[in-house]
Every structure is written in structure tokens, then in C-alpha cells.
């Protein structure tokens, strides 16, 4: 049974790769385009910090380190949750009906039927570059324990963002279209998360900690590794909560999905 599941995941992945490589040049260019689009944001910060030296005590390399987690987690997350990102379209064009007609789990199919490798390579690649540039220059003496902490943090960050995507996808069942909600609650919040959250107004901080908890994707884990002064205003425990919040949020989003799927209405012919 486990073997069979792995087999079908393998065939799905092979199919996705084959489809991507139908357009080889486009595949390379598109990954590059994503990389460059995201990199421009970093370049702006680079020039700003050349002038100001630091932002609330964070220097350029520390900022890059903060950013790298955001990109790395997104790069991995999008490999698994492309189907959730595009779920609105899947519902509208009737492809979801086809998922229902196949003897496999619905969420399983949504997750493994599609993977946006362009975004994964673009975001993940940028994250990796930023990590390699900064990891040796932020004063972290890496050891096995810290590396483990870092990996678990990435997994937690992936789950936090996956849960947000799953939650927004589930809303599609009720609303048919949730792109503007995603713009508002995901992408805009993510823009804030590129900076140490301590620079923002309390209300924005509260949003990033309690509502769309991007702070746990990169800010608090970075604080565990870097111990900057501005951590003083937050509870210590926040630095250890990322994996738990990830698992918890995903579980809640999954229950919401399970509950909502019975209200699914086919889009009609």
C-alpha cells in the first residue's frame, strides 16, 4: 500500500517534469525571471543598507539571513502546494470534478498533481544564494544542533505557509475566487516579513505574530541564532514555537478543509 502511494507520486512527478521540459528554454527563462523579480527586492535593501549601515540593529548580512529563510521555505512549500495556490482555477474549470472521480484522496491529488518548479527554483535558488552569502558572516558558529534547528525551522515555516494556502484554497469552496484575499493576507504580509518585525507599529507586529504568523517563519528563528537586542520585547518561547505552530495550523486548516469539502458545488457545464 505504501509502495503503491510512492509509485503514484513518482508517476505524477515524472508527468509534471515531462510537461515542463516540453518547453526547455522557457523553463530556464521562467525560473530566471522569478529569481530576478525576487532579487530586485533584495537589491533595494542592499543599497539602502549601504547608506544606513543597519536597520534596528540588523546589518546587511543579518538582513540577508532573515530573507533567506523566507525564500527557502517558499521554494520548498510551492513544490508541494502549487495545487493549493491554483485551487481556484481547478474548481472553476471543472478539473476538480475529475479528482473526485479518481480513487485517490482529494488533498493527495491536489498536492501531487502539480508542482511549480519555476517558482521553486527561482525562490529556493535565491534563498540558497542569500544563505550562502550570509551564513558565515552573521556570527553563528554552526554545529549539528543548530543545523538541526535550522532544518526543523524550515519545515515549520513550510507548514505555516502551506496551512495559509490550504485555508485560502478551502475558502474557494464557498467563494469561488480568493485571489484578492491571498494578495491581502499572504503576499502583503510576506512583504513585512522581509524586515525585522520590531521596526513596525505594534498592530502590524500583532498581525505577523497572531494572525498570519510570518514572524515564526523567519524572524523568531533568526533571533534564536543571532540573539539581537530587539528580541527583548518578545517572550523567549517564541523562538522555539515554529514547528508547533506549523503543525498546529496545518492540522486546523486540514480539519476546515475536511469539513468544507461536502459543500463543494460543481461548476456546471
Amino acid at each position: 500500500m505504501r509502495n503503491d502511494t510512492l509509485n503514484v507520486i513518482g508517476v505524477y512527478t515524472k508527468t509534471i517534469m515531462k510537461a515542463w521540459f516540453q518547453y526547455k528554454v522557457d523553463a530556464v527563462l521562467r525560473s530566471l525571471a522569478v529569481f530576478l523579480r525576487e532579487a530586485t527586492g533584495i537589491i533595494v535593501i542592499y543599497f539602502t543598507l549601504l547608506k544606513f549601515d543597519s536597520l534596528n540593529g540588523w546589518n546587511m548580512y543579518e538582513m540577508f539571513f532573515l530573507f533567506s529563510l523566507l525564500f527557502l521555505t517558499y521554494g520548498i512549500m510551492i513544490l508541494f502546494f502549487t495545487g493549493l495556490r491554483d485551487f481556484g482555477r481547478t474548481v472553476r474549470d471543472g478539473s476538480f470534478d475529475r479528482f473526485i472521480l479518481r480513487p485517490r484522496g482529494l488533498l493527495f491529488q491536489i498536492i501531487f498533481v502539480n508542482a511549480d518548479w519555476f517558482a521553486a527554483i527561482g525562490h529556493g535558488g535565491l534563498g540558497l544564494v542569500l544563505f550562502l552569502i550570509s551564513a558565515g558572516k552573521v556570527g553563528v558558529s554552526w554545529n549539528l544542533g543548530l543545523a538541526l534547528y535550522y532544518i526543523v525551522t524550515i519545515l515549520g515555516g513550510v507548514l505555516i505557509q502551506g496551512a495559509i494556502f490550504l485555508f485560502l484554497a478551502t475558502l474557494n469552496i464557498y467563494l469561488m475566487e480568493t485571489n484578492s484575499l491571498k494578495e491581502l493576507f499572504y503576499w502583503n504580509m510576506r512583504k513585512f516579513a522581509g524586515y525585522p518585525i520590531s521596526v513596525f507599529h505594534k498592530s502590524v507586529q500583532a498581525l505577523l505574530i497572531y494572525v498570519v504568523p510570518f514572524a515564526f517563519v523567519n524572524y523568531f528563528p533568526c533571533q534564536f541564532l543571532l540573539r539581537k537586542e530587539d528580541m527583548g520585547q518578545y517572550p523567549e518561547i517564541f523562538m522555539y514555537m515554529t514547528p508547533f505552530i506549523g503543525v498546529g495550523m496545518f492540522a486546523v486548516a486540514y480539519l476546515f478543509w475536511k469539513y468544507s469539502i461536502r459543500f463543494y458545488k460543481s461548476s456546471g457545464n
Binding site: 508517476v11 471543472g94 475529475r98 472521480l101 480513487p103 485517490r104 458545488k265 456546471g268
Partner: protein, 332 residues
């Protein structure tokens, strides 16, 4: 107990009613008004194993909704469905392995990849054993003459080729029941014939039970033995193809070719149609069975005019169905 049991199912959709104009749009944004539209009203029917049933009705009659409920995509609001011992919308994963569904309007093939890649994917999804997969694939490819485009990307196929590939895709796992939703839409005459023959052969050889919707009455006449007609969500006919002719086919027609150009005076209760606009030699007489005796009409024509040829034709199913849709025939 029948293979497919449908008991009094109903399904309504909630439709957002938008008032006209910009004020209406704004009002709708804050206080949306909904209206329930009943797509299917207390429909019941049974289908036996090996049956080949045509499921027809005008656009918006509720055909697709019914097919979607039968295949487990939609929950009925009321009533029960049992297919092959399963309740489709409750036991989805167990159930869907035993059915195949073809949506003529919506392909399930991978657009950018060769046809064969989609088949390989389905083999994994449905856990089809290698031997069975080979056997089915070889057989279907041969029956539908698909050998020459199996390696071509789907996007390069003609509509007819794509439809054949889609039909095979729905059958690779040897389903016991197949729902076809407009399997010949947009396909040319030759392609339609290929598809019909294939469906017939499969039904005869493998005893596959089939239900299919179409707007092409030729499909029905050539393929189906049983017919279910629905209109405005309600079932209005359920029986044999022959039966519908007997029950509603009350008109007859007489095609007459005259020896010369004749001017024919109007005949009571008989509608006359010119078949040959050029010289008016060929005419069709259409009449109600009950009102006009065919013998009387023939005798009248033969006695009063010079007739070269005469033929009686049965009413076409298409004509009957059109009348039912138009409400010209009262059904009970």
C-alpha cells in the same frame, strides 16, 4: 435489485440574482439576493446490468447534474442513489474504481504530453495491473484505430482523435459502468460512427452498463435500447426506444413524386411541404395518424393526380423528441 437505483432525487442550486445597473450591483455586494433553482425534481429510475441507456433532454434539463450525482461529484439534496451496492457520494474512493466517466466537453488528458503518458498516469492512479493494462490498451487502440497518434501530444490531436483517446482513458481500468456525457460532441460523421460502433461492441462483449447523454439523436437511434428523457428537471419518459415511437410518434409522412408539375389543393388536416423547390414535383404530406387514414390519402392522391412514386416514412426520433421538448406532445 437493479445495478443502478435512483430514488426520488432532487437537487437545487442557489443562484445569485443580480439586479440590473450599477446601483443594483452595489446593492448586491452588500445584500446579495439568492434564488433557488431546482435542477432535478424527484427523479427515479432503474438501470439493469448490461443496459445501454440514452439520457436525453434539452439544455439545462438536468442531465449533467444527474450524471454528476450518479458519479459522486454532487450530493443530492433529497432522495437516494445506489450504484453497484455503493452510495456514490458517500463511498467515493471505493466506488469510483468501478465506474468510468467521459465528459465530451472536458478532457482528462495531459495537454502537453503524448497520449500514452496520460494512459500511464491513469494506470498508476487506478492501480491497474500491468497485464490487464496491456490487454485493454492493445484492444482499445486497435478497435478505435489509434495506433498512429498514441505518441503525439494531445494538443496536436484533432477533436475526433482527442475524444477517442478520452474514451479509452475512461475505460483502461475496466469499469463496470460508464457514464458518457456528450461523447460525440463536435466529432465528424466518420468519427461519430467509429465511436458508436466501439461503444456498442464494448456493451455487447463485456456487458458494460452504459448511460449516455447526447444531443445527437443518431447516437441514440444507433446505440441505445432504452431511453430516459428529462425536461426541466423532471423525468418525462422512461422506456424502450421503440416505445417512444409508438407512444408519441403520432405523425406519419408520405413522400410523393408526381409525374408532372401539379398544383395540389389544400387537403384537410394534412400539411404539405415542398421537397423540390425547383419544379415542385416532389412533395411531402405530414399528418396525424388519428385524423387521417393513410389509405384515404393515398387513394385521393392517386385518383386525382399523376403519381410516379410514393413512400411512407416513420417519424424520426429526432422529430418526436423535438416535439416533446417544445411541449407539443403532452407526456404523462
Amino acid at each position: 435489485m437493479s445495478l443502478i437505483e435512483v430514488n426520488n432525487i432532487s437537487k437545487s442550486y442557489r443562484i445569485n440574482k443580480r439586479p440590473k445597473g450599477i446601483p443594483g450591483m452595489l446593492a448586491n455586494l452588500f445584500v446579495p439576493k439568492y434564488e433557488m433553482r431546482q435542477a432535478v425534481k424527484e427523479v427515479s429510475f432503474q438501470i439493469e446490468k448490461g443496459d445501454m441507456v440514452g439520457f436525453i433532454g434539452p439544455n439545462g434539463a438536468g442531465k449533467s447534474t444527474t450524471i454528476k450525482m450518479l458519479s459522486g461529484i454532487l450530493y443530492p439534496d433529497k432522495g437516494e442513489i445506489k450504484v453497484n451496492g455503493y452510495v456514490p457520494y458517500k463511498q467515493r474512493k471505493e466506488y469510483v474504481g468501478s465506474i468510468g466517466v467521459v465528459f465530451g466537453q472536458k478532457s482528462q488528458l495531459q495537454w502537453d504530453l503524448p497520449v500514452i503518458d496520460s494512459f500511464e498516469l491513469l494506470k498508476a492512479i487506478y492501480r491497474i495491473p500491468e497485464e490487464k493494462y496491456r490487454k485493454n490498451l492493445d484492444r482499445f487502440v486497435q478497435m478505435l484505430d489509434m495506433g498512429n497518434f498514441l505518441q503525439q501530444p494531445v494538443r496536436q490531436l484533432s477533436l475526433g482523435q482527442r475524444m477517442r483517446a478520452d474514451i479509452v482513458a475512461a475505460l483502461l481500468h475496466s469499469p463496470e459502468i460508464v457514464f458518457f456525457d456528450e461523447p460525440t460532441i463536435g466529432v465528424d460523421v466518420v468519427g461519430k460512427e467509429t465511436i458508436r460502433n466501439f461503444i456498442k461492441e464494448l456493451n455487447a462483449e463485456d456487458e458494460v452498463t452504459m448511460l449516455f447523454t447526447t444531443h445527437d439523436m443518431q447516437d441514440i437511434e444507433k446505440v441505445c435500447e432504452k431511453l430516459i428523457v428529462i425536461d426541466k428537471g423532471e423525468k418525462i419518459y422512461d422506456g424502450s426506444l421503440l416505445g417512444i415511437r409508438e407512444k408519441y410518434g403520432t405523425t406519419r409522412q408520405l413522400d410523393v413524386e408526381f409525374a408532372g408539375i401539379e398544383h395540389i389543393a389544400p387537403i384537410a388536416n394534412v400539411e404539405m411541404v415542398e421537397l423540390d423547390e425547383l419544379d415542385g414535383r416532389k412533395k411531402r404530406f405530414v399528418f396525424e395518424n388519428k385524423q387521417v387514414q393513410i389509405n384515404d390519402l393515398m387513394n385521393f392522391l392517386l385518383q386525382n393526380y399523376r403519381v410516379r412514386d410514393i413512400s411512407i416514412s416513420e417519424p424520426e426520433i429526432e422529430g418526436i423528441i423535438r416535439k416533446i421538448y417544445n411541449g407539443e406532445v403532452i407526456t404523462t
